[in-house]
């Protein structure tokens, strides 16, 4: 298998598999190559797959670090920071390392899926040009729709079939993902509240979010999180988005959505996935929103930027 040799640069590959046996065959081979080469390995997949991998690896499992994708990647925008932490901790050693990450699985909702696909494309922007390492992303062809598998060919420069990597003919260069993300957002069917805000003060924004979330049945923890996330995004609108914005709130099943629109432009595709430093201003609003909310949709259109913050009512914390 061609995954044995050290890579010269970031190597982002999709592993297409049909069912658990093929998943295990493909990932175990990749992991064992890493172990043989003394490469640190981080595997971020669902809990049942972690259990199956540990059983199959036996004593070798001790050489592998496992993380549950359902926890790390509940909000897909938190996955790049997690890989970033891993890359930073390994890069100092100068040795090769590798990872497996399965962000896309059938349980993902339609809105999550789009954000996961965006995440896959942004991985190339985040790690191209950085330290050389291998990341393998398994895709279950028996459970995922054909267009999802096709999209994997666009977001991954390499695709592994039958233990062999092939350069993907559909791969769109990282530059494509650097362009503004403009995927359409469906209009809500019924709004709970709308509020226009400007630099005069965000207290009315915070009051409205808190009141509406309480009325929607949320407890104080998620309410305070949502208030803080909306406040930070609205602060961005005032500082970088033309000085004003519009907040809309609506329920979508068991999710409460808060949308902030402004006239600003979002030109740093990774701004929402980079930990803010205390000495640096800007960009931190979306980063914090990603840590506090279950899903954050960021779109940059001609007319301005739209950010939607999603909070599940029954999230366990």
């Amino acid at each position: 298998m061609s995954g044995r040799l050290p890579v010269e640069r970031f190597h982002h590959g999709a592993l297409l598999y049909a069912g658990m046996d093929e998943f295990l065959a493909g990932t175990i081979a990749f992991i064992r190559e890493g172990i043989v080469a003394s490469e640190p390995v981080l595997v971020v997949v669902g809990a049942p797959k972690i259990a199956a991998l540990k059983a199959r690896l036996g004593a070798d499992a001790g050489h592998v670090q496992f993380k549950n994708m359902a926890e790390v990647g509940a909000n897909p925008a938190r996955i790049i920071p997690a890989w970033h932490d891993f890359v930073e901790s390994q890069a100092v050693t100068g040795r090769p390392f590798r990872g497996i990450g399965e962000p896309i699985y059938p349980e993902r909702s339609a809105v999550e899926l789009i954000e996961c696909q965006r995440h896959e494309a942004l991985l190339n922007v985040a790690f191209d040009g950085g330290p050389a390492w291998r990341l393998l992303c398994p895709y279950d062809t028996t459970a995922l729709a054909p267009d999802v598998v096709e999209e994997a060919h666009r977001s991954h420069p390499y695709v592994a079939y039958d233990h062999t990597y092939i350069a993907s003919g559909l791969y769109a260069e990282a530059a494509t993902a650097r362009a503004p993300f403009t995927a359409a957002l469906p209009e809500p069917s019924h709004l709970r509240a709308t509020l226009v805000f400007d630099g005069m003060g965000l207290r009315p924004v915070r009051r409205l979010v808190s009141t509406e979330a309480a009325r929607a049945g949320y407890t104080s923890g998620p309410i305070a999180d949502l208030v803080m996330a909306v406040d930070e995004v609205a602060t961005n609108s005032i500082r970088h988005g033309g000085g004003a914005g519009r907040l809309r709130i609506w329920p979508d099943g068991d999710v409460l959505v808060c949308e902030i629109r402004d006239r600003g432009h979002f030109d740093d595709p990774l701004a929402d996935r980079r930990r803010p430093a205390p000495g640096r201003d800007g960009g931190r609003g979306l980063w914090l929103a990603n840590q506090l909310c279950d899903l954050v949709q960021v779109r940059s259109y001609e007319a301005g930027t739209t950010v939607r913050l999603h909070m599940h009512r029954d999230r366990a914390r």
Partner: protein, 325 residues
């Protein structure tokens, strides 16, 4: 002001409270069935859970509208202590319950009036008991359905259920126009600040430091920055956001001139954004080695935000135990 206010705990807002009243941050609407002198219902009014009557000591026999939470500063301190999000949960539960139980409360009110206004129209006890039981069943269901929300605000369902049952019976048995006497004992299972959610008396909220209210360093409509003594430093009371974070940074910078640790009392904060947190972190970084910026009474939400941004190591920043619930 030309007038000297004798009662610091007077409710300063116009009553009856308008439909979308939000001027008082501690306002907790409850619906109240008003009655004429013969105890006949006149309609439903909105009042505030914390509004009561105080005796005017200067004018015997006269009363003034009194806020059970205390004066303006104590109201804000109480709100910071319970947190605005929890008050919103309580408000939402009250709204839902008022709407759900309105027909039953009206029937109960009417039955109680008939019970107390004379033999001719008097209701028989069994009828009243039936109405009360139906009302209590509604309450039971409401408590069960919203168990998580009641626990969240510090009002676990079981003691609350018992308390409400006693209150309903006391209210029905109390003659017209008199205020029912409630037993205060069952309330002791709830934390003191939380008791105010039920309209029960609570001790005035305490701040983490002693503040000099009459000498604010800065004030706008949502934030006051006050000097503190014991320990010396400053207190942030209200909301810190993009509109006033520069004033916070400036006040913190001025503290650098003083000797020793800088103490910041956050126990009166209702909100603080990441910019505010960043101002505190920068102020700590600007201190000489060995001096610390000590945060007192940091709200739980802000402490979590500090963990999330993970700006460690911050050798000059210390977090002292607070009074927040």
């Amino acid at each position: 002001m030309g007038l000297v206010e004798q009662h610091a705990d007077r409710c300063i807002y116009p009553r009856p409270f308008p439909d979308n009243f939000d001027a008082c941050p501690a306002f907790q609407a409850t619906s109240f069935i008003a009655a004429d002198s013969r105890n006949k219902p006149l309609g439903t009014w909105r009042t505030c859970r914390h509004l009561g009557t105080g005796n005017d000591l200067e004018n015997r026999g006269r009363f003034y509208p009194r806020c059970a939470l205390g004066d303006q500063q104590q109201r804000l301190q109480w709100l910071a202590q319970v947190s605005p999000a929890k008050l919103d949960v309580v408000r939402a539960l009250q709204e839902e319950f008022d709407q759900l139980s309105r027909p039953q409360r009206e029937r109960l009110f009417d039955a109680r009036a008939r019970l107390h206004t004379g033999p001719a129209s008097a209701v028989r006890e069994p009828e009243l008991e039936q109405l009360i039981n139906a009302f209590l069943t509604t309450i039971d269901r409401f408590l069960d359905k919203n168990d998580e929300r009641f626990r969240d605000v510090g009002l676990p369902a079981e003691p609350l259920r018992q308390l409400i049952k006693e209150w309903v019976w006391a209210w029905v048995r109390t003659p017209e126009l008199a205020t029912p006497r409630f037993d205060e004992k069952p309330l002791e299972v709830f934390d003191p600040p939380v008791r105010a959610f039920l309209g029960a008396p609570t001790e005035p909220a305490v701040s983490a430091t002693r503040r000099l209210w009459d000498r604010p360093l800065y004030a706008d409509t949502i934030l006051q920055i006050l000097p503190t003594v014991d320990p010396p430093g400053l207190a942030l009371v209200g909301d810190v956001d993009q509109s006033n974070v520069a004033a916070v940074a400036q006040a913190l910078a001025r503290m650098r001139g003083h000797a020793g640790d800088v103490h910041v009392d956050l126990s009166g904060l209702l909100f603080c954004d990441l910019g505010g947190l960043q101002a505190m972190v920068r102020a700590s970084q600007a201190l000489d080695a060995g001096r610390r910026l000590v945060l007192h009474g940091i709200p739980r939400q802000l402490e979590r935000a500090l963990e999330i941004v993970d700006w460690a190591p911050l050798p000059n920043l210390a977090i002292a135990g607070g009074v927040s619930v």
